[in-house]
């Protein structure tokens, strides 16, 4: 699988992304590639800048410089809403579902299906039946065994709740799904259910970016692993060919991985100069 990715065009990629907050460089010339049909895990130590990178990809942060391309075309997301409109959905770790609302309502939150004709367009009436039917179809296609779509989300187990969040993202995403620590709040058994679900999302045709701290989870389902360190990508490894021990070594800097930028310090110096440029242009 790792050999075939070389010839394909990435569905989402980033080149030379920089982001600074005051004196802190959060992203320091990071590159990124997600290919169709894969689960790409993004790992890195706390403060490595992986969440900053993900925020750029999901539209929550506007980078100082660098490019992001979706399907080979450059995109500039100004908000998560724009990224979502472009077909990128995000699943958040803290279960961004409304507990008192039912499953169907949660799946359509913010994108309610309205009744046909003037009832929908003028009176803005919700099509409860249609929403339930579509929710049922979506949950079945992902093999999430929940009987009633009118069940309140709070009556579900933690794993099932995250299942609702994943199903929602998968239902609306046209290009890819970003999952930010989707198993962080879950127990062992529930995590296993969600991991299976993530695989099914991939198998149904949506590539997945998985941000996780949990190495066993990453090695269980990732097709490739993007290792982030000191604000940039330092390695992309195949979990079948690399040991967990080595990946942790790359992550912490104990093992220097030979990739595009063998010399970290030089890259960092260059990036500072690059990130200063836009500001200078604006001043003139």
């Amino acid at each position: 699988m790792s050999t075939t990715t070389e010839n394909r065009t990435p569905i989402l990629s980033a080149r030379g992304v920089h982001k600074r907050y005051g004196n802190v460089t959060a992203i320091d010339g990071a590159d990124f590639d997600l290919y169709p049909g894969e689960i790409l895990a993004v790992i890195g130590d706390n403060g490595a800048g992986k969440s900053s990178l993900i925020k750029v990809l999901s539209g929550a942060t506007i980078p100082d410089s660098g490019t992001v391309s979706l399907d080979g075309e450059e995109v500039r997301f100004k908000s998560p809403l724009e990224a979502r409109k472009a077909g990128i959905e995000t699943v958040y770790q803290d279960l961004a579902v409304a507990p008192a609302l039912d499953i169907a309502t949660n799946l359509f939150l913010g994108r309610e299906k309205r009744r046909a004709g003037p009832l929908g367009s003028v009176l803005r009436m919700i099509d409860h039946k249609g929403m339930k039917a579509e929710a049922d179809k979506q949950m079945k296609s992902l093999q999430i065994g929940i009987r009633s779509m009118s069940q309140a989300v709070e009556t579900l187990s933690g794993g099932q709740r995250q299942g609702v969040a994943v199903a929602r993202a998968a239902a609306w995403a046209r290009k890819l799904v970003i999952m930010d620590e989707p198993t962080a709040a879950l127990g062992v058994k529930e995590s296993a259910q969600v991991l299976e679900l993530i695989k099914r999302v991939r198998d149904n045709g949506l590539p997945v970016i998985l941000i996780s701290h949990n190495m066993p989870h990453v090695f269980e389902i990732a097709d490739r692993i993007h290792v982030h360190r000191l604000g940039k990508r330092v390695a992309v490894v195949d979990p079948k060919e690399t040991s967990m021990h080595d990946v942790v070594g790359i992550m912490t800097g104990a093992v220097v991985h030979d990739l595009e930028h063998p010399d970290e310090h030089d890259g960092a110096g260059g990036s500072r100069a690059a990130s200063a440029e836009p500001g200078a242009e604006q001043a003139e």
């Binding site: 961004a96 609302l101 939150l109 919700i126």
Partner: protein, 348 residues
């Protein structure tokens, strides 16, 4: 360690031998079902309380069941009921509005004084009164949304502001000899021998309209979502701030309608009206089963809650109980309702 074992053994013994196992299984299965039935009880609770109150007062007073009495209860309760509609919307967003009563009083003084003292055409005066209430709703919402202030404090402030403005503008005088347009809604017509005011019809229609909006439209659905989980609602791209501001403005408009109903019912613009109505409105909402934590509740519940207040007050009057005891009982009712809500949530 051994004690629990002997207890189960003793339990098995009393259960006459082999039949002790199936009951244990039944209780295990029973644990999953109460969630659904518990919800149903939560919805039925207010209605049962209302019926129990009616049954109780029927046994205490012969006058209670007379049709004229029901008409009276409805007339008495409709102003508070209308305030409680606006209050329901705000409580559903996990907010609270302490200003509703004095805002209504301000609206009623604005519309009556403009019409009587300033010779503004009555219909325009009514609209300006409603606009005044909406403006204070906008102020409440703006402060809650814009500065992230707690609704409790903001509306405590506007409670006093509206109270003061009412007295300043009216110069503490009751405004009477109102144009007939303003008291029209206080007039009655007969349904099967029972006199019903037009105002009651307006209030009931407002309940029906609010039910429709909350249950059937995207706007209403988002009110629930906002109160249930503002974070999830925001993450899903719903403009949370605009929605919340709208709720406060809409509530203000509803208080303006309540002001008109109040004027129509009493026939005057009274600067001292509405000062304790905020607690009555909140009581009606809470008795109706709406959670103070937001996101859960129904407008039908609020109607029932308002009727409970009306029935209890009316019944106590018929029984000859002093009015201070009515206030005492209302206070107890709120605490009971909130406690029941809290206990039900913890179990579910």
């Amino acid at each position: 360690m051994t004690q629990p074992q002997t207890q189960t053994a003793a339990g098995g013994g009393t259960g006459s031998g082999g039949q002790s196992a199936p009951p244990a299984g039944e209780t295990g299965g029973g644990r999953t079902t109460p969630k659904v039935s518990g919800d149903r009880v939560a919805q039925l609770g207010p209605l049962i309380a209302l019926l129990l109150a009616c049954v109780f007062f029927t046994t205490q007073s012969e006058q209670f069941l007379e049709p004229g009495n029901f008409s009276l209860i409805i007339q008495q309760v409709m102003v508070i009921g209308t305030l409680a509609i606006g209050q329901t919307l705000i409580i559903l967003t996990a907010g609270i509005d302490l200003s509703c009563g004095t805002v209504m009083a301000l609206g009623s003084i604005v519309m009556t004084k403009l019409a009587v003292d300033s010779n503004v055409p009555p219909v325009i005066a009514i609209l300006l009164g409603i606009v005044t209430c909406a403006a204070i709703g906008f102020l409440n919402g703006g402060l809650v949304v814009g500065l992230s202030l707690p609704p409790f404090i903001v509306t405590l402030g506007t409670f006093s502001i509206a109270l003061a403005l009412t007295h300043i503008y009216s110069k503490d005088k009751t405004i009477s000899s109102l144009p007939s347009v303003m008291t029209k809604l206080g007039e009655t017509f007969k349904i099967g021998g029972t006199a019903v005011t037009y105002g009651s019809l307006v209030a009931l229609s407002l309940f029906a309209l609010t039910w429709f909006v909350l249950k059937q439209t995207t706007w209403g659905g988002r009110v629930y979502a906002l109160g249930d989980s503002p974070e999830a609602t925001r993450l899903m791209g719903i403009p949370v701030k605009r929605q919340l501001l709208m709720v406060y403005v809409v509530a203000g408009v509803i208080y303006g309608i309540a002001a008109l109903l109040l004027v129509a019912r009493t026939g005057v613009g009274d600067p001292n009206a509405g000062q304790t109505d905020n607690l009555d409105a909140i009581t009606a909402v809470v008795l109706g089963g709406t959670s103070l934590f937001g996101g859960r509740g129904t407008i039908i519940g609020t109607l029932i809650g308002a009727l409970i207040i009306g029935v209890v007050r009316n019944g106590l009057v018929l029984m000859g109980v002093a009015s201070i005891y009515q206030i005492l009982i209302t206070g107890i009712l709120v605490i009971v309702a909130v406690s029941v809500d809290q206990i039900a949530r913890k179990r579910g």
